[in-house]
Every structure is written in structure tokens, then in C-alpha cells.
Symmetry: C2
């Protein structure tokens, strides 16, 4: 193929796997695009970004700047939810090239009559494309350029900024060359900034030995709102399987009255589109959703695509499950372990299209009811392309739907799910405790390609994970873990009330909870308030007030010469909000250290002090130097400093 273009456009950044996957942003975020744009020879070139929302008919163009080394860059802002495409286009700009040439020759004292003649073609283009004034200007210049009598006027005009600006405004883009189109998916802002609270609605009853209901949950909403949470996530609320039901503490055989595992979905009461009868009705659920909304809380739902052996699907659609050669059903297993309360969907079956459609209809059912946040259980045990398709289909109708991938798996598995479309992802934060571990992990999340597609959601604990460092841990450790999650990540969540009530007793020798609510109903005195609930409230208020904390990627660690202290600087995109966070990782002793401020990023030059306010204590400080002494005690083991300009 003979291609006459002279400009190469390549290495467009950001991009994932050569454009095989879309990158992600939220509304009003920016994308700084870089590309290598280079012509042969020495001609003057121009480059631009073309970007276009999927609902728009034409792309918008924005001219790029040359950074040096043939790299061009510019930033564009995305405002609407949904897909945008972006691509880079470059061309030899013959008009600007002509102007550059004649300018150099004029400075060199050359007589440029022939060059002026040559320039008339570019003026004619302006005369054709410009507005009335511009047409007149171009016409006037043509007269000068043609007539040697006006030589002085002509050469002045030829090298003028006015003419340059017209050439920039009306580019001819002859033989322009474009990169491929890359995609970015834009979510609502909550994809970057959300504060989750998880509890088991069946444990919400006021009185002991009663099954909690959605009405009980409603009673707790003000408390959750006061603590500053904006997302309320329930484990599955569907009918719990009765066949092969598990008992307390994950015992194999349930006793009479054992309430079962909410993730073993489906019984004679219904399946994934039904509600567990003891929790209430769909109407109750809708009422709860509405009440929560009034308090600024969105209800998030669990999507767990698996079935109890008595799920209606096993009767209506037996072809969706794998049979053994003897005709019996194949229970879930991870050899040598068997999970006889669970049957997995058989994604390899030939009837997979109907299965996919049915599973899609589950999400659609709840989305139509008003749920737009989904925590997806074990997504890594279902095909990646299934999620890609399902999330895409849901978002066509509900672009504000968000999906949190609950995969605690290998790094590339978790990354792949995020690439295939999940809006948020669980992370290894739950087990990252030391300074070097946290620093290394956050560097990976925020400084590699992961920042373009992997939105972390930091959970200090979950019903599945009672991490060793929280088992028997004191108040300070709980504050540390919450503060870390809440300041390092835009998204976080806790499983309560065990977290704030410091219910940390483990199942012996495991990273699990004793008497875990996964297997039984617990009763809590939900009226208790304590230091942890108060500090959580304060931190969450700080998160709401400070956009620097509503994102994850603008993060720079500060040097501090104490391995028990971490310090970092965060800011929002336009740097109208900046915080410096210092956290002690020691829950037992006072720690002191000296924080080194990132002087250049802070534009701090010693001329006047940096004013800091601790957003929790409201104490104010003036820092005069690059290095600043801090001291933290277990009673309040962190500072979140707002930098006041």
C-alpha cells in the first residue's frame, strides 16, 4: 500500500494494550494525552487531539503542544457519562512552514520576492475560509505580496503573529495522519469517591433472637449517615437455600433454626430476583432505598452468580448446570474441597447465551428498581468476557451503574477484571500493613498503567477477612487502618459494626471471624457510639470537604525518617485543594519524625510559611521549612493537614 502521509503518529498515551481496552475517568476529570508526532525532514508540523462523546456527531479538536523530543501533549476534559474516543492527528503545516522559512530568510537579510509569491496560495485559503475581516485582511496581503512596491509591508505581514494566528485557525491539514481511536469510559464521580458501609440486614433487629428486617435497617440509616457513609452495601438479600445449608462457623450440616449463608442463593421462595422473606418485601426494600437516598446514602447490592441446590433454576433450567456422568449434579469444588451448598453455573454449556441473558436480567431487575451500585461476588470464577458483555449491556441502559469486583485473587486476574469493565476493585490493602508494603502497593496502583483502569476500594476488613493485625487489636490500630484507607484511596469500605465495635475475635488460627455473620445472625447494640465512630465521622467529613481525598492517583509520598510514620501529599487535578497526611503505623507508642515536604509540587519557597490546619483537631500550624517535626501518639495516630493558601 502506498501511503503518502509524511507525519508519523504513534505511542499515544494513555492507552491499554494497544487500545484493546478502554481507560477510565469520572465526569469532569481530565485526560492528558501524549503522542510521538514526527515528520520526515525539518518541516513545521502541527498535532491535535480529536475527542468525541459517543452521542456526539463530530469530534472536537484541540491543538497539542510540543514538549520536546518529538512528544506532543494536551489535556481534554470529559463531562458526560459513557464512552469517548480520542485520537491524535498530525500534519505538515505548509502554511506555518512557509512562514517559518520566510521569517528566517528575512532575518538573514535575503530578498524574498519569490517566497512571497509562494505564500499567496496560503493567503488564498484564508480568503476562502475566513470571516469577513479575515477575508479582507488576506486580500490586502495578497496585494502586498504580488506587488514589489509593497515589499516592506509584505515582509512585515508575512512574519506577523496575526498571520500566524490565521494559519493556526484555518489549518489545511494536507496529508494528515491519525493514530487509531482509543476509548475512555466516563463514570459518574462516585466511581472515584465512595465510602461504603457493609452490614448484615438480618443482624439489624433491635431485640436479640429476632431476624432483622429492612425496616430495622431503616432505623439504622441516620446513624450510618452521621458516620459519613454514602454507600450502604448488603450481602445478598435473596432467599437462602435450604438444601445442604451450612451451620454456624461454616459447619457442614445446619441445625434446626440455623439461618444459612446469604451467598447460597435460591430456594422454594425464589432466586436472584426475589427477596428473602424474613427480610421483608420488595416494597419494603424500595422504601429502604428511598429513605437511604434521602440521607445521601445509596444502597449497593451483592451480585453472587451461584445457586443453592434448591434454586429454582435447577428445575427450570437444568441445562445451565454441569452434571456428572452418573446424572447427579456437580457441586462447586476446589479439589480436594467440596462445597455442597453451592452449584456453579456451567459457562461452557452450549446454552450459554440464554444463561448470560438471564444473568443480565438479574442486574437489570434491580437496576430498574433503583439500585445502581453492585458488589460482585467472586467475579474471577466466571468468564472475563461474560463480565465485559454484562457490564456493557447494563451501562447502555444505566450508565450510572457501578460494579465493584470482589476478587481477592492473583494480581493479573484482578487487573483483568478491571480492564474488562469493573468500575471499582477490592485490593490487597487489607493485608498491607508496613510502610514499605503500603508505599510499594500504592506506587503500583497510582504510578503504573493501573491508574488508568483500576479504581481501588480499600477495605480494612470484610466478613471474609479478619486480618491478623486486627485480631485483638486496640482502638489505635482501628483508627490507623481506617485513616489509611480513607486518605490513601478515594474509595473505601468497612464491614460493621464489628469494625467500629472492635469485635475482632478470630476463628482459631484463621484470618476469619469467630461466629461470623456469614453463617449466623448476630445481635448488636447499634446505639453505642465510641471514639472510633466519632473519628470515622470526622474523617468522612474531611473526605467530603477535600477533593484531594476524593481521588487516588494524585499522591506523592514524602520522605520521613521513621519506618513507623508515613507521610504523603495529595491534591485535586487543578490543585485548588491540597492535603498532607501523616499517619503513625504504631498503635502502641508515640512516634516522632521529620517530614520532608515536596517543595516543588507545593510551590513552597520559604518566602512565607505554609499554613496547615489539622482537619480533625482543627489545630493550625505554620511550617517554615522543607523538613518539619511531627509527633503522633496512639490516642490520635494521624494528621490530615489541609494546606490553606
Amino acid at each position: 500500500m502506498l501511503r503518502q502521509e509524511r507525519v508519523i503518529v504513534e505511542s499515544v498515551y494513555p492507552q491499554l494494550n494497544g487500545g484493546d481496552f478502554f481507560i477510565k475517568r469520572v465526569q469532569d476529570e481530565s485526560i492528558k494525552v501524549y503522542a510521538d508526532v514526527l515528520p520526515d525532514g525539518h518541516d513545521v508540523i502541527q498535532a491535535e487531539i480529536l475527542f468525541q462523546h459517543e452521542t456526539e456527531k463530530k469530534p472536537q479538536a484541540i491543538r497539542m503542544q510540543h514538549q520536546g523530543n518529538d512528544v506532543y501533549y494536551e489535556t481534554f476534559k470529559v463531562t458526560q457519562q459513557g464512552f469517548y474516543t480520542y485520537q491524535v492527528r498530525g500534519w505538515v503545516d505548509y502554511a506555518l512552514n512557509w512562514q517559518h522559512g520566510i521569517e528566517v530568510k528575512i532575518k538573514d537579510g535575503q530578498h524574498v520576492v519569490s517566497e512571497l509569491q509562494d505564500g499567496i496560495q496560503y493567503l488564498k485559503y484564508i480568503k476562502k475560509k475566513g470571516n469577513t475581516n479575515e477575508k479582507a485582511y488576506a486580500k490586502e496581503l495578497i496585494v502586498y505580496f504580488e506587488d514589489e512596491g509593497n515589499y516592506d509591508k509584505a515582509i512585515e505581514a508575512a512574519a506577523s503573529t496575526a498571520l500566524r494566528n490565521l494559519f493556526l485557525k484555518y489549518p489545511q491539514r494536507i496529508l494528515a495522519n491519525s493514530s487509531k481511536k482509543f476509548k475512555v469510559y466516563v463514570d459518574r464521580k462516585k466511581a472515584n469517591f465512595s465510602t461504603w458501609y457493609e452490614f448484615f440486614p438480618r443482624s439489624a433487629a433491635e431485640e436479640p433472637d429476632k431476624h432483622g428486617t429492612f425496616k430495622d435497617c431503616e432505623r439504622l440509616l441516620p446513624k450510618i449517615a452521621e458516620m459519613g457513609f454514602d454507600t450502604l452495601y448488603f450481602p445478598p438479600i435473596h432467599p437462602i437455600g435450604e438444601k445442604n445449608r451450612k451451620g454456624k462457623n461454616n459447619t457442614v450440616d445446619a441445625k434446626e433454626g440455623d439461618s444459612g449463608v446469604p451467598w447460597a442463593i435460591g430456594s422454594r421462595h425464589g432466586g436472584h430476583k426475589s427477596i428473602h422473606p424474613e427480610l421483608g418485601t420488595e416494597e419494603d426494600f424500595k422504601h429502604l432505598i428511598g429513605k437511604a437516598m434521602d440521607l445521601g446514602i445509596e444502597v449497593a447490592m451483592d451480585i453472587a452468580y451461584q445457586a443453592a441446590p434448591d434454586h429454582p433454576y435447577l428445575t427450570t433450567n437444568p441445562e445451565w448446570f454441569r452434571k456428572r456422568p452418573d446424572g447427579t449434579i456437580q457441586y462447586a469444588e476446589n479439589p480436594p474441597k467440596k462445597y455442597q451448598d453451592i452449584v456453579n453455573f456451567y459457562f461452557e454449556n452450549t446454552e450459554f447465551k440464554a444463561l448470560w441473558e438471564e444473568l443480565l436480567s438479574v442486574v437489570m431487575h434491580w437496576a430498574d428498581l433503583g439500585i445502581k451500585m453492585f458488589r460482585v461476588d467472586n467475579p474471577h470464577t466466571k468468564p472475563y468476557y461474560f463480565w465485559n458483555w454484562l457490564i456493557g449491556e447494563v451501562k447502555k441502559k444505566h450508565p450510572d451503574a457501578l460494579f465493584l469486583a470482589e476478587a481477592f485473587s492473583r494480581p493479573k486476574v484482578m487487573q483483568q477484571l478491571a480492564k474488562q469493565g469493573f468500575s471499582q476493585s477490592y485490593t490487597y490493602f487489607t493485608w498491607r500493613v508496613n510502610k514499605w508494603e503500603l508505599t510499594e502497593y500504592l506506587t503500583e496502583l497510582t504510578q503504573t498503567d493501573m491508574k488508568e483502569y483500576y479504581r481501588p476500594n480499600f477495605w480494612p476488613n470484610t466478613p471474609d477477612i479478619n486480618p491478623y493485625h486486627l485480631q485483638g487489636a486496640n482502638e489505635a490500630m482501628h483508627l490507623i487502618r481506617y485513616a489509611l484507607a480513607a486518605t490513601l484511596s478515594g474509595n473505601l469500605g468497612i464491614y460493621g459494626p464489628v469494625f467500629e465495635y472492635m469485635v475482632t475475635e478470630p476463628y482459631p488460627n484463621k484470618e476469619e471471624y469467630l461466629d461470623c455473620e456469614k453463617y449466623e445472625i448476630r445481635h448488636w447494640d447499634w446505639s453505642i457510639e465510641n471514639k472510633i465512630t466519632h473519628v470515622i465521622s470526622k474523617i468522612n467529613i474531611a473526605r467530603k470537604n477535600h477533593p484531594a481525598l476524593q481521588q487516588t492517583n494524585n499522591l506523592r509520598f514524602c520522605h520521613i525518617e521513621n519506618d513507623n510514620l508515613m507521610a504523603f501529599y495529595k491534591w485535586n487535578d487543578d490543585k485548588t485543594n491540597e492535603v498532607v497526611v501523616v499517619i503513625s503505623l504504631d498503635s502502641h507508642h508515640m512516634q516522632q519524625g521529620t517530614v520532608q515536604l515536596p517543595m516543588q509540587e507545593l510551590a513552597f519557597s520559604h518566602e512565607e510559611p505554609l499554613h496547615l490546619m489539622d482537619v480533625i483537631t482543627e489545630n493550625e500550624y505554620d511550617w517554615y521549612d522543607e523538613w518539619n517535626f511531627v509527633e503522633l501518639t496512639p490516642s490520635l495516630p494521624f494528621h490530615i493537614f489541609h494546606i490553606k493558601r
Copy 2:
């Protein structure tokens, strides 16, 4: 689109720009391919490389190994010139997965009758695909699996290596998923390993004041062969333009008798397919090519796509050149400079296809005559896609054609030319003098993506460049520069005889030669031999004997605590040949230092000494330790140690 595949294959390495460009190898080199291959869930997967030469009907498959972290890798060898494709394919291997499951359950003491039943389907596949013995074996196993009376035999066979090997041999590859196909172009070995000697044939006459001829060149061949060069490169040998001819030392107006610039091609005597009459005839040239070949020397030709103002093309095809508005011809310029002895081709013209075809026919003309190595002058001032097309077209007929890009331009421009198809490239080596500069540059060439497509050719000097560090330099500096080029890079070249005769006088204040042969004929006493010619011979013999020096990328710098000493370790792909090189960068003083050997790469464990032989002096050494003292003097400022095992 609904895609049922469960395995993801991505991040295949090596690849360039997502497969937009091919990578490069030479015959008998290997390609180590890596890919991320991951299933959902925990099933056993397999991955393989499929690779195929363009002349083959079917790809070959080679199973990959798991490195950990979901990365699979394997190596394949390329033997034929031309394009190969390679891609990675992965699948859940249900047979192996079944075997893994039953093995774990057997170890766990479970009774696996149902699992054995399940396995029969995989045995049936072997029964269908296997050879006679394998069919019988599968048949026997089916009997065991079906009949509980043979349970013990059945479970032994189920978990056996024999069965595993059959599953590996006959994979079903159900729902396999493949990466895209990537391309590698395989050149003959000379693309990686060539030793160039450049001289001006017109300066080859025995007597002064005579124009050298091809016959004179023939006389010099034994000398060049003795110095160990395998490539003889001439500046353009075509008729030199007579109009606007330049004079000595690049003066604008040639005097009577000035011989002109060989790169100003074309006159009444012909153009790019003709020979400058004073050099001889095409027959003479063919004779020279044959004589050179007899001595193991290939003649390389200069391709300079530009025309003198009296080139026949200006008459036959005026449409290939740009005219100014006044109808006069547009000479080459780089404002404010004008080059009135040169006219550039106008690649934007609408008749470009005919132009491209004509330029292709120039290379074809000489390739058909037996020239397979082309040094391309200023390729960066012609469109990238033109070169991509031209080189591709030439290689269709002459896969052994090699193109050296003479672009001393910006990094990305030089890289782009290599990506578009040039076989070798000039480099910044010419100006890299200090240890840190050389180390940084070689690290870029050998440790980044450049190693996949950019084959450096190191030139200590060229007719265009008399670098400051060689101006007035002593013998030691010449030895240092040659030794660096010859050991750091598989390809190198010198412009002689000024290099070995230390003719270094510059044009005042420029990195150029005084009385440069570009503008005039020089006379040399070619019979002179000196220390430089002798050492060059020895180094070139070492290069011929040691495959570690016939490539560039297997390079590891060794720590040596002296900024005037460089040390590095090189090896060939299968490590049957290894060298350690130590070079002093100080041409005036003795330098001492202690080299740290790369113990692991050398598999050196102190148990017995490492035997080294200096390939120049043939002195032998035993090194007993990781750190080893070396001392170099300007009289022979380098060691090339062959490691004798």
C-alpha cells in the same frame, strides 16, 4: 459480541507498538516469547506459541512454560530469511484439569468412582487420536475406569505421568483463545555482524593527481581483507552533477578541475543507474564486486535520493521536482541555508507513484547486479512510508538485501526509520566518549525495546564527522575508539584511510575534515601499515572467532571503580562463547582498577579459577575472585578476554 472463551491471552512480548511494526532477528537467532495467559477460576490451563514462516502452510506449535504470576514463556528459533508470524494461544485443558482434580482427591483419600467415570471422555479422545499403542492403552484404561473391580489400577493410571504425557500430546484445545499475530523479519546473519570499511574510490589511484578507478580499488582489496573487513562501502559512484558544482572544502563555486561532490548525483553522463565515467564501466564495477566477494568482502552501495540540477530526471520527469511560483526549480534548502547543487524529489507531488517506482528501480538495478548492502543517505528527509514500501519491495525479490540508515537525527526519527524497515542504523556512538555516556547509550540500545528493531552500526568517524575527540588524537585514542565500536556493537565501520592513518586535521572550528574527500580527490600511500592497522586486524580476527562479539544485545556492564575504565561481559545466545572486555578511555595515562565479575551470569563459584585469554596478546590469566585487578596503558588500552571453559 458473545465470546465464550475463558482464557485471556495478552501482553505478548516482544512486540512493537501493539504489533504495528515487526521485530527483527537474524537467521538461527531465538525469540523468547512471554505472554500473560490466565483463565477465570482455578482450572489448569495450557499455552503455546504458534509460529510460521511466510512460505509455510501451517504454523508450528511449541508449548509454553509457566513462569509464575500468570506469565508463560518459551523460545523458538528462526532459521529462514523473511517474515515469520508468532502468536500465543491458551486454553483450559479439561483433561489435565480433570487429572489434577482426581490426583488431589486421591491424595486426600476420597473415593473417586464418579471422577473416574468423568475421565472416560478424555480417554476416548486419546483412543481416537493416538497411535496404535496409545489407542490400546486408552482402551485398557477405559476398562479400568468403568469397572470398580479395577479401582486400584484405575486410580494409579489416572494420576500417572504416562497419562499426563498423552494429554499433553493430544490437547483438545476447547474454546482456545489466541493473541493477535505478531511479525518478525529474519535477515541473514550479516545484519547483526558486519565490519565496514568506507573509502572514496576516486582517491584510490597509485599516483598523485590521478582519478582513482575501480581497478585501483581492486588493488586495495587484499589489504582491506587482511585488516579483517567484510564490507566495502563506497560513496556514490554515479555521474557527478556539473551544474552549480561545489569546490574544495565546500566552497560554493567549483574551480576548473574540481571533482565535485559524489552525493550531487546526475549529469549528462547519467543518473542513479549510471557510473561516473572516470571510475570505470559497469563491467569494471561488476568485476570489482566479484573480486571482493572472492576475498569475503561484500561491496555496499550508497543510495542518495537527490539530484544535481543537471540530473537527467529534471528533463525526463520535471513533475518529480517542486517548482517555485515563477517556474524556476526549487533547490534544496534548510532556511536560511540553500543548497544550489542539490534538488530534492518532491514526495508530495501527485505523480508520486511513478517517482516511487523509479526510485525502487534504482535499488533493483544494483541489487540485480549483485549488490545486497545499501547505505542510505539522509533517509530521514524522505517519507517514512516510502522506505517501508521500498525496503519491503526489494526484500520480496532479494530477502538478503540489507539497508543501513544514515540518519544522524533526533532519537525518535532514527528509531522510526528502524521500525519502518531499515536493517541497520547509524548511532550516536560517534559522539559518546565518557563512561557514563557510553553506558547509558548502550543500556538504551540493548535493554529497551530498541533491541528488538534497532541494529546499531558504530562508526568512530565518517566523511561527514571528524569528532572533536579524534581531532589531533593520538594512536591510543584511535585504538580505543575502534576497540569500543568493535566490542560493544555487532556492526561497525570506519572511514579510511584517514582513520587508520590518523589524518585528523579539522576544518577550523568544525567537526569536519579539512580538505575533505567529499569535495576533492586525495592521494594516499595505501601501502603504509602501522600499529592501528595491525590492531584492527587482530580485533577483527577476534570478532570472527568469537560469536559473543557478533551481536550487540547480550551485554552486561561490570562494575569497575575507575571512571576511565569500562568493563563488560558479552556472550552468544547459547553461552558457548563468552568474553569479558576491559577498555581504558584514557589515551594518555596508565589506568588501574578492579573489575567485578557477574558471578551468576558466569556461573562462577570460586571452586576453580576462571581461565581467560587475551585474544590480542594471547596472554592467559586465571581469575580466582569476584574482584580482579586490571591495568591498562595507552600502548594497548584494552583487553578482550575469551573465557575458556
